[in-house]
Structures are given as C-alpha cells and as structure tokens.
C-alpha cells in the first residue's frame, strides 16, 4: 500500500473540522464565554444607572472589557486536553508543519468563542445605549481584536499547558499583551461616537492582527514542542 501524503491545507482543515465536531458534542463548554459576556454587560446598567446617555459614555469600553475577559476565559483549556491525551505528540510527528495545524486549531477556537462575541456585540451594545451608527466600528474592532486575542492566547496557552495551575500564569502573560487591543478598540468606538474618523485605531488593530497571524504559528509550535518534551 503506497499512501498519498496529505497536503498541508487538507491537514489543517481536518484539525479545524475535528474541533468543530468536538465542540458540537460539548457545546456547554463552548457556550460559557458567550454567556459570561452577555451576563457581564447586562449587569452594568443594573449596577450603575439605567440612563442611556450616561451608559453610552462607558458602553464601548464595557463591551470591550467583557469581550476580552470572555476570550481569556476560554483560552486556558485550549491545548490541555490534546497535550494530555497525546494528540499533540502525534501532530508533532505527523510530518506536517506544526504551526499550521495549531493555527487551524486556534481558528476553530476563534470561530467557536470569538465570533459569537462579535455577532452578539450590537445587541449587548444597544443595551448599553450605543447608537446604531457605531455598530460597524464596534463589530470590526472586535473582529480584529478577538482574532488577535485568540492567537496571543494560543501562544500563552501553549507555553503554560505543561504548568500546573497555568491559568494564573496565562492571564499574567496575555493580559499585558492585550492592553493595546483594549485601548485601540474602545478608542475606535468612542471616536466614531464623537463623530471623528475611527480609521487610525482600526488600522493599528489590523496591523497588530496581521503581525500576530504571521508570527503566532512560529511561537505556538515552538512552545508546544517544549510542552511535549515532558
């Protein structure tokens, strides 16, 4: 039997499909960040004031903080199960470029946890008094922001997967790196609301995203290789 070697793109697709299939069977775990996001943002009007004009001032920031924390929540377990059951070992030995496989896994993770946050953002934003005119900016800033966070978090999760109680370490690693996203993201929303052009912060977010996309796989594969050495 001479077997045909799987092309790298097809291999990455298999990893993506696998995580989708697994998520479908464990949907309660996947839904957790989204529930957290909705709950936190709806608590703000209850705790502060129901006055929409007052909420509007902090609305963009609240949505962004909640999205950031919700993304972090889902990250810790990203690679844990795969490292513990030996799947990543087989990925390392598959003869495929490990970085692409891990990027595919992160992409699946983003579709399952980041994308729902983006889609829900107009609804939770409306609850915080954000006008419809900022929906576009809010969603596009979150689209770039959650994408970057998934990759940054992927690097952090890959580094801490071998560490016991890695979740604390993970937050310490990823949160400082996520601060520029938070600043540019909420700034873009508030600029749009004040009638200025949000192009500047959005372009910076895009630049950070593409930097993470190009360097992330290299960092993740190096970190996973260290983790399987144990």
């Amino acid at each position: 039997m001479t077997a045909v070697r799987t092309p790298t793109l097809a291999a990455a697709k298999l990893v993506f499909q696998r995580d989708m299939t697994l998520a479908w069977r464990r949907w309660d775990e996947v839904a957790q960040p989204l529930i957290f996001y909705v709950v936190v943002t709806t608590m703000f009007p209850l705790a502060t004031t129901p006055d929409l004009s007052a909420l509007r001032v902090i609305g963009g920031g609240v949505v962004w903080v909640a999205a950031l924390l919700a993304s972090l929540l889902a990250l810790e377990a990203l690679f844990r199960a795969d490292v513990e059951d030996g799947t990543t070992e087989q990925w390392v030995l598959s003869g495929q470029p490990l970085g692409y496989l891990l990027l595919a896994k992160v992409a699946a993770h983003w579709v399952l946890t980041g994308l729902p946050l983006v889609i829900m953002s107009p609804i939770v934003g409306t609850g915080l008094g954000l006008p419809t005119s900022v929906w576009g900016v809010l969603m596009s800033s979150l689209l770039l922001g959650t994408g970057t966070l998934s990759i940054l978090g992927g690097i952090g999760a890959a580094l801490t997967v071998g560490v016991r109680r890695g979740s604390v370490l993970l937050s310490l690693l990823v949160l400082p790196l996520a601060m520029p996203l938070l600043i540019f993201g909420s700034r873009a929303v508030s600029m749009q609301m004040d009638g200025d052009s949000p192009a500047g912060p959005l372009q910076l977010l895009a630049a950070i995203f593409f930097m993470a996309l190009s360097l992330g796989p290299i960092a993740m594969s190096a970190a996973i290789r260290i983790s399987v050495e144990n």
């Binding site: 045909v4 799987t6 299939t21 059951d85 070992e89 030995l93 598959s94 003869g95």
Partner: protein, 210 residues
C-alpha cells in the same frame, strides 16, 4: 561510516532527565526487516530512548541517521516515515473510532472510508467503528491506536509497550502486524516487558543497563 545496510542508525546517544544521566553513549543500527527490542528494568530509559528517536525529547549529544543521512534539519521528512505508538493512545473520547482515525491518521495520509474500515477490521474492532472511543475497553482503545499506526504507512515503527492492556489474541495480533511490516521491508523498534516475538529470527535485542 554507515553500518552496512542499516536504514536507521543511532550513534552515541546521550540523554538527561532532570539531573539524571539516563542514556550513556547508546549506539545501535537497524536494517530493513529487523525488529529491535529494547529491554531493561523500569526507569532505565527505554521510553526516553524511544522519545529521543522520535525527536520528542532532545538528545544531549550523538547523532541519528536515517537512510545514511543525519536527520538534523530534516525532521519533518523523517517524521513522515516514522510511526509512533506511545504510552498514550492519542484518542479523543468524544469522537467515534472512525472519526479518531480520520482526524489523526488523516493528517499524514489521505484516507478513504474503505481504508479505514479495512484497517479497523484488521485490528478486530470493525463492529465498534461508530462507538465513541470513550466507550471502548482499554484493549480496544489500544487496538484503535494500532489502527492509527497501520494507517500512518510508515517505514519505521517506534512502539512503546505495544501490548499493554491487550489479551492473548491481541498480543498475537501485534506480533502478526510487526512481522507483516518487517516482511514489507519495514523496521520496528519496541520497548517491551512482555514476551513479544521472542523466538522470531528477525529479533535483535538492545539491553539497557542502569
């Protein structure tokens, strides 16, 4: 100088685990059709040696040669010809047996439903193909991991305690699979405590001493 006809060769491999110098100048070579059985007491470094060969652990010195050339810098190429069955079965409990093969063995070689079924049949768990791997017995999980190894279509098999959890029929199956693999020009290196192909002419031993 390459040992005559050897497809795989290890030269003076040294490895440390923490502050323990486990492997000291381990050298051996394997020819096509040979089965190298690594033996020795617990903790002597059998698994370490196998993981060093796979590149899952770094060696502190020495060299590995595949087809006469050092594998340094050619890991992905070498990995594609290497099939690894570790302590862990690398299965996802939530996926069915078929899906496990599709998503893991499929990363290496393009699989069809027929190849997957044929391989499941070969390891004797075809009737369990659509059950989640979680519900399989320990022995059946091991058989499923063996199916993944077969589908990898690799020339060099690295087996770490391949017969763990297997019944007598299962051990016989592993022996058959190895012999079959060797007859097709393959190589196998295994760490095993149990009897495994002990009287076969293809067997060579590598005794690790503490």
């Amino acid at each position: 100088m390459v040992v005559d006809g050897a497809l795989f060769e290890a030269r003076e491999i040294n490895a440390w685990r923490g502050d323990r110098h486990i492997l000291r100048d381990v050298s051996f070579s394997v020819r096509p059709g040979e089965f190298l059985k690594v033996t020795g007491p617990n903790g002597v470094g059998k698994t370490t040696l196998l993981r060093v060969i796979c590149g899952l652990l770094p060696a502190e010195g020495g060299e590995l040669l595949w087809r006469g050339k050092s594998i340094r810098g050619r890991r992905d190429e070498f990995n594609f010809e290497l099939g690894h069955l570790g302590h862990l079965n690398s299965l996802k409990g939530d996926l069915t047996a078929r899906e496990n093969l599709k998503f893991l063995a499929g990363l290496r070689t393009t699989l069809t439903a027929q190849t997957i079924d044929a391989t499941l049949d070969r390891v004797g768990i075809l009737s369990r193909g659509d059950l989640p791997a979680r519900s399989l017995s320990a022995g059946q999980k091991r058989r499923l991991a063996l199916a993944r190894l077969l589908l990898a279509d690799a020339a060099l098999w690295i087996l770490d305690e391949p017969v763990t959890n297997l019944d007598t029929a299962g051990i016989r199956l592993v022996e058959e699979l190895i012999v079959d693999h060797l007859e097709h020009g393959g190589l196998a290196i295994a760490a095993a405590h149990q009897r495994l192909l002990d009287d076969a002419p293809c067997l060579r031993r590598l005794e690790l001493e503490p």
